[in-house]
Symmetry: C2
Subunit: 305 residues, 2 copies
DNA sequence: ATAATCGATAGATTGAATCTATGGATTTCC
DNA sequence: GGAAATCCATAGATTCAATCTATCGATTAT
C-alpha cells in the first residue's frame, strides 16, 4: 500500500472507471490498472467489480474510498498550508472559467502581485467550472451568477454592462446610446435559451414592456456577431466580450438595468483556508478595478478609441 | 510535497532530530536531510530550526506536524482496514513483549490460525513496550499488570503461577508443594525492587505474616536461577519462565494466592479497529489455553517429564 | 583537549512508476 | 447483424527519484 496505489484507487473510485481516472490524473490507463491490481493483490482484497465496460467498487472498495477521501483531503490541506505559508512565492493555482474574457484581468492581478506563481486557466462551460472546483482541480472559478451552486462560496462579483451590437452601416451607428423602448419591433438576434446574457436582456425587455422581434436564435457569441455584421439584425453582448470588429458598432442601452454578473467563486469548504485568505484581497482588488459601475459611453469610447 | 518528504518531516518532528528519526524509520540519516530540505525549498518554508545539536520545529513546522499526524493516522487506518479485510491472509503484525516467555503461545496461536501472516516480536522492558505501542510500531503488547498505562486497552489477561525454585540437592527437592509458612526463615534470593514477580511474592508473604530472610538481591531472572543452582538460597519464578535446568527443582507454593498477571494490550484508540476485531478472538483463545487456573503439580510434572 | 554525536553534502546505485504498443472483451450504432 | 468504438489487461522498455555509502564541519560532552 503506497501513495501511487492509493492515488490510483481513489481516482478510479471517484471517476467510475480506469480510463476516466487516467484522463483525470493525466497518466496512462495501464498505470492505474497496474497500481490498483497491485493494491488488491497485496491484501487479497478485491476493490472493484470489473464487468465489461465500466467498473464499480466492492463493499471493501467503498469503505476504503471513504478513507482515501479523508486521506487526500488532508493532503490538499497540507499543500495549501505550505503554499500559503511560503507566501505563494512559488507553486501553481488553477482558475476554471466559463469564458476567456473576464478571467484576463484576474490573471493579470495575480501575476503582478505574485510573479513566481504559476497560473493555469482552464476554459469550459459552467458545468465544467463547477466540476473542476468540486474535484479540487481548480482553486478559483468564474461563473455567471445564474450557474451558482450551493457548494461554492462567492469571493467577488464583477458586473459587466450589456451593450447593443449594430452593423456599422446601421442608421443608429453614430449614437452612443439607444433607449430600450426603441428596440420595440426591431429585428433581434439572440443566443440560445439559457444564456445568461439572454436571460438578463429578456428580463430588461419585459420590465420595459418591450416585445422583441427575434429573427434568429443562434448558439454562440461569435455566431451572433457574424449575424449582426451581416446585417441580419441587432444583437446584445457583454461589453467586455465586444472584441475589435470594424463591422460592428456598440451602443449603451438606456432605460434598463442591464448588467451581467460574473462571480469569482471557490469551494465552500476551502473558503477559509490559508490559501484563500491570502488570495482573497487580490481577487477583490482585481474585480474592483474591472467590475465597478462603469460609464458606458466612456467605456465604449475608450475601448474603440 | 510528496510522500517521502512528508514521512521524513513527520519522523523528524516526532523524534526531535534527524538521526533519531532515521533510526526510527530504518533509513539513513542523509535521506531525511535531503527530503526535509527538499520540502522546505519547494515551498520556501523553513520547517526546523537547526541549532547545532538537535533541531526543533518552527511555527510553520509545528502547524504542519498537526496535519501530518492526521495524514499518517488515516494511512494507518487504511492499512489496518485492508489487512483485516483481506482476512489477514498476508501482511505483518508486530508484538512488543516485556519478556520472551509469555509471548510464545500467542505467536503459536496466531501462526496456527493465520499461517501466511508475518509475526514480528520485539523484546524490551515494559517502557519499550509502551513506547512501541504509542509510536504505532507494534499492534500488540505484553505487559505485567503493574506497568499498565491509561492509553492502552486490555485485550486479555494471562495468569501465571509463581513457583518456588530449589537446588536439586535441597531437602525439599522431592516435594511437589511447599506451604508458604515453611518459608519463614529460609534464605531467599529475590529480583530487584519493582519486579512484578517480587511484588506479588512479597504481598503473599505479608498476607501470610511470613518474614523472609533475603540473602541476595539480584537483577535478572537468569541470575536468580544461577544463584539458586549454586545453593545460595531459594528463589521464586513464574512457572512459564522456569526453563529446563537439571540443577533446579520447582515446587508449588500452597497457602497463598501467588499468580503473576500478564496483560495483552493494544492502543486504546485502535481497540475497535477492524484488525483488532479480527484478532481479538484469537488472542482470547491463546490466553485461555495458556492462562487458566492450572494444577501446579500437573503443570510442573508435565514440564519436567 | 579529545572523543562522540549531530546534521550537511557529494556521488553512485537500484528499483519503482510510468510509458508505448497491443490484445481481448463488451457496448454502441448504423 | 456487423462494424466501430471504447474499455480494461498485459508485456516490455525506460526514466527518474529515493536511498545508500563515504565523508566533512560543527557542536557538545567527557
Amino acid at each position: 500500500m503506497n501513495h501511487a496505489q492509493l492515488r490510483a484507487f481513489h481516482a478510479v473510485a471517484r471517476e467510475g472507471g480506469f480510463s476516466a481516472a487516467a484522463r483525470s490524473l493525466g497518466v496512462s490507463q495501464p498505470t492505474l490498472t497496474v497500481q490498483v491490481r497491485a493494491l488488491e493483490d497485496a491484501f487479497r482484497v478485491p476493490l472493484f467489480h470489473r464487468r465489461g465496460r465500466g467498473v464499480f467498487a466492492t463493499r471493501a472498495g467503498a469503505e476504503l474510498f471513504a478513507l482515501t477521501q479523508r486521506y487526500f483531503h488532508v493532503e490538499r490541506e497540507m499543500r495549501e498550508f505550505l503554499l500559503a505559508e511560503g507566501g505563494l512565492s512559488r507553486g501553481r493555482i488553477t482558475i476554471a472559467a466559463d469564458g476567456p474574457f473576464h478571467v484576463i484581468p484576474l490573471i493579470g492581478a495575480i501575476r503582478d502581485a505574485l510573479p513566481n506563481l504559476e497560473v493555469v486557466v482552464t476554459i469550459g462551460n459552467s458545468a465544467a467550472v463547477v466540476d473542476a472546483l468540486l474535484n479540487y482541480e481548480a482553486e478559483f472559478g468564474l461563473l455567471s451568477e445564474y450557474r451558482m451552486d450551493d457548494r461554492l462560496a462567492v469571493l467577488a462579483a464583477m458586473r459587466h454592462p450589456i451593450v447593443l451590437m449594430m452593423p456599422a452601416d446601421h442608421p443608429w451607428a453614430g449614437r452612443g446610446a439607444v433607449d430600450i423602448d426603441e428596440l420595440r419591433g426591431q429585428p433581434m438576434i439572440l443566443r440560445e435559451q439559457g444564456s445568461a446574457t439572454r436571460r438578463r436582456f429578456e428580463a430588461a425587455l419585459a420590465a420595459a414592456r418591450v416585445t422583441p422581434r427575434v429573427v434568429l436564435e443562434i448558439g454562440s457569441r461569435e455566431a451572433v456577431r457574424e449575424a449582426v455584421a451581416a446585417g441580419l439584425g441587432l444583437g446584445v453582448v457583454q461589453e467586455s466580450e465586444l472584441g475589435e470588429d470594424a463591422r460592428i458598432r456598440p451602443a449603451r442601452i438606456d432605460g434598463a438595468e442591464l448588467q451581467a454578473t460574473e462571480l469569482v467563486v471557490c469551494l465552500e469548504e476551502r473558503r477559509n483556508s490559508p490559501l484563500m485568505r491570502r488570495l482573497a484581497p487580490l481577487v477583490a482588488t482585481a474585480t474592483r478595478d474591472q467590475g465597478r459601475e462603469p460609464d458606458a459611453q466612456q467605456a465604449i469610447g475608450g475601448r474603440r478609441g
